[in-house]
Symmetry: C5
Subunit: 99 residues, 5 copies
């Protein structure tokens, strides 16, 4: 998985019928120093993530291992809202500190 920050949304009316009701989030991938990478994903959200939150993103067939999404044409999903990231015994990110 990759660490990412939610930055926005994508909306679509004309789409694969199986995608109705899916919320598409624009998430920015972060490096392991907590800095933004020049990479993003448009990921299906199933955990209720909001703009600004740090999340874990799964890509590939993993994105369809979510109840109800097994047969949707998805290749990226937000699977968790991150509480903390610790690297080299240092707290890189804590959700609590953001609010």
């Amino acid at each position: 998985m990759q660490i990412a920050r939610v930055r926005g949304t994508v909306t679509s009316t004309q789409k694969e019928p199986s995608l109705r009701g899916i919320k598409f989030l624009v998430v920015q991938l972060m490096d392991d120093e907590g800095q933004p990478l020049p990479k993003y994903e448009v990921a299906a959200d199933s955990v209720g993530a909001g703009v600004g939150e740090w999340v874990l993103v799964s890509r590939g067939s993993a994105a369809r291992q979510v109840p109800g999404s097994e047969q949707r044409p998805l290749d990226a999903a937000v699977i968790a809202i991150i509480d903390t990231v610790s690297v080299d015994n240092r707290l890189l990110y804590s959700k609590k500190d953001q609010y």
Copy 2:
């Protein structure tokens, strides 16, 4: 998924028989500022996307989670025509503004 803009088409007569009737679109991947990336995909179209439109592209096995394509040798598909992209509370793209 990645945000992409439809730029053209690929045609082929001699191909895997299961690919008959598939429309192949050349789509340019876009970054999260709305600028073209030096990357493209040739993606199967199932939503009726036209040249110039912004779309969502799914890659990998997701491209076969489209009714009728489950057993086609496809690794990229256009799965949605984008209405809007919003990033950092800014409207990056709106289909309405293009026409």
Copy 3:
């Protein structure tokens, strides 16, 4: 899928038994201006592509969605010989013009 040009072949005697009879092509990936990229694949051929021809290459599990290859350890396949590539209303490539 990616656009590629057939450049050569790989042969092997000692291999997974399921790969007997598979023709391995060295294909050079092309960008969307028709220029070679510094990337290649060794792809299984099932459409009878020859050196110099432009083809579509599928990667990942898609390469096994070809009759008879469902259980072969392949991650890239030539799935079509390209007739034309059109980008921005310009004919980038036409097979007819090559011969």
Copy 4:
């Protein structure tokens, strides 16, 4: 697989229910000279790897070929703790030398 070094952990309360009980490790990918690459994964741990240890990381659907994880939305897993890495007849890494 890639060689990686365990550097930290990610915790999450609000996540896909199937992920309860999974330990998420931040692992830094290493090159074949034993130097850190500017790439990481957040990988599910099933072998009890600790910070500082070198491990093998599998990505993609392989991450779900672990008993109990078949239907979890995981795209990276620590599958082995490395004892030794030998390259060009040289011992690049030995777990024993670290302790």
Copy 5:
């Protein structure tokens, strides 16, 4: 698939139980001029490849399309020992010439 050269081995005692008996090779990816790329894989060997030999490496779910490995958490496998690589009607590599 990618062309690679076998450079070494990885050993591990503490690992997913399904990986017992698997030989892990460090293989260096090669470009289509026969030069080493700054990329490697740790790949499961099932064809008896030795250090110095050129091989074909399959990645992703293809690595599990090897009898006995269907449910192992592998994302890379050596699937063939290369006899010859021909590019642009030139013999880039011949196993015979190496011995």
